[in-house]
Symmetry: C2
Subunit: 344 residues, 2 copies
DNA sequence: GTGAAAGCGCTAACAC
DNA sequence: GTGTTAGCGCTTTCAC
């Protein structure tokens, strides 16, 4: 039972192979009745075009490359992040009959540029998706740009307008988290900022301020502590905030690690979470579910972002649509156990 | 700058394309001097065969499929596991000019069999690697077997002798961990067994007993507690073991989750780790580094196992070598902070 | 709108 | 040992 070829379909539909090809590739200039005949033959025969033959004849592969930071290079907490990106990209690729080539890539390696160029030269992908933090590294973006391959960048800190960029609504969702805390009756809501170089994290601070304003609460410098994204810095900031006479009843940290640090310190100080202190994080990493109490946080829509990127790439190949602008994929609050009504 | 083809290489080397093809595919019947000429031309031109053309002409893809349990289906602590498998397989594929197609797959879905068959039919991979726990599921293994595609199973609980199986030395390394604990002066070393259905975990218990014997310690039923792989069961077992009058000075758990449970209970009971109690786990999951003190454990060589599987698959395609038997990839102790000298 | 013919870059079968 | 000749299954070009 060799699998059917385009010739089999053409014979069965009573047309030429070129017409079948047109139908398969959704090209114009096919009469509706002809298209239907061909589609029926395709369905009857369960015909699936041979990707290798398509690639060979068309000089481009039905394949998308997903580039992300190689976790083996240092630690592996990022694996959940990668898996979610893969899932989203995979979903879009499968639907379109594309393949997904994964390419972990160590940006600390001085040859990344050449490595990417060679990869592209070898597989000639229809497009490339670059995930953060790589999506913001000039040497990587430039190397890909130089090959002329369609590129989509995920959550880059800055946008250069040359490619499509997919981001999430960090600022807006952070405002929403702040409003949520306010709606629980909290009036002294503290914020722990992240590492200053991390742009997305900076947006969360802006969102926090927006949220305060939208809730009619006034901002106070004394309720902001400067962290650096690590658990340890979360602990230090928590110490600083909780030792004050008039301590906050809620602490919103710019990422989950710092929020976990807050919980740890609260435990140490005998402050009950969420009864006496609500704690919220951001990112929804695996740790958020492992701490006790489980952390209320913001779920990054990584899978949806990667899926959107892949869909856009595939559409641009097929329809010659330009890949430009910015797509905002909304995040969502993950309400768990670490937040609750403000104490009296 | 169109990339060079086999014709360019043939012209430059002054041979026919078939000879170039022979060199590229490491076929016999090429004079050494000819081979060298061709290899030089390949290097000069930076020639890389076009995979699509190779696939089309040879009716098989230079591609390996890695099948693993889809984490989206339930939780995501398995992402580190998946990433490590991918890294190993990727490494082998890159070296050989193969591609890796990743295929997360939900075995709870009743259509998995058909899904896999269709995938195989569509991409015609050179081989398939199936990771645990899928590697032990009859409906998955049978579906793949039915297609005749070369298959390698990773860490299946049972071996059926029809395919190559890659496992780790669970029993031996567990014995080593036990000897390590004994070498620290511990004489009352307890063990927490895992879920009985989990074969690999059962081997760890055997290794524990081996290790005791090799260290000249005598086994005692009273130092064994039966867990079920969860953190909670680790806590219960720890309670049971630590409340005894003559409590153990070291506890070796059949997995990291249970070991984490032990640490939690020790903390609750005011028993200092590692000063008063050494705790060791198994698997080296991300949690092992997150608990305090960081867990001494056994590092599963997942990446190396997947790499071996891919290398074997590629070799079997090229050299028509049969894929049979069992390869044992050794694990290694990860000594961290949760183990130390036995108290006086 | 549709089709015929000419490859894409490689491997397979067989000749030499 | 090495080369020749056919394809593999599709897209492209261009004719109709």
């Amino acid at each position: 039972m060799p699998r059917p070829t385009i010739d089999d379909v053409a014979t069965r539909a009573g047309v030429s192979i070129k017409t079948v090809s047109r139908v398969v590739n959704r090209e114009p200039n096919v009469r509706e009745s002809t298209r239907e005949k061909v589609e029926k033959a395709i369905a009857d025969l369960k015909y699936r075009p041979n990707p290798s033959a398509q690639n060979l004849a068309s000089h481009r592969a039905r394949l998308i490359v997903l580039v992300y930071d190689d976790p083996s290079a240092y630690e592996v907490p990022s694996s959940g992040y990668i898996i979610r990106l893969q899932q989203g990209a995979l979903k879009a690729c499968r639907k379109a009959g594309f393949e997904l080539l994964i390419h972990p890539c160590n940006y600390r390696n001085s040859h990344v540029g050449r490595e990417l160029r060679e990869l592209i030269d070898q597989v000639r992908p229809a497009g490339i998706i670059v995930a953060a933090p790589l999506s913001n590294m000039p040497k990587i973006v430039r190397a890909i740009e130089a090959t002329g391959t369609p590129l989509v960048r995920l959550s880059p800190g800055t946008r250069n307008g040359k490619q499509l960029t997919v981001v999430t609504n960090d600022r807006e969702i952070s405002a929403e988290m702040t409003r949520y805390l306010a709606s629980l009756g909290h009036t002294r809501i503290a914020f722990i900022t992240g590492h200053p170089s991390h742009k997305a994290v900076g947006n969360r601070y802006l969102g926090y301020r927006d949220g305060l304003e939208q809730s009619g609460l006034k901002f106070s410098e004394s309720l902001v502590a400067a962290g650096n994204n690590s658990i340890g810095s979360g602990e230090e900031c928590a110490m600083q905030l909780l030792k004050r006479k008039h301590r906050p009843t809620a602490i919103f940290a710019a990422n989950d690690d710092m929020a976990a640090g807050v919980i740890r310190v609260a435990d140490r100080l005998g402050i009950k979470v969420p009864e006496e202190l609500s704690v919220a994080g951001c990112d929804d990493i695996a740790l958020a579910r492992q701490v006790y109490p489980a952390l209320t946080t913001i779920n990054q829509p990584l899978s949806a972002m990667a899926e959107y990127a892949a869909v856009a790439l595939i559409a641009s190949v097929r329809g010659k649509r330009p890949l430009l602008g910015t797509e905002i994929v909304p995040a969502a609050l993950q309400i768990r156990e670490s937040t609750g009504p403000a104490p009296d």
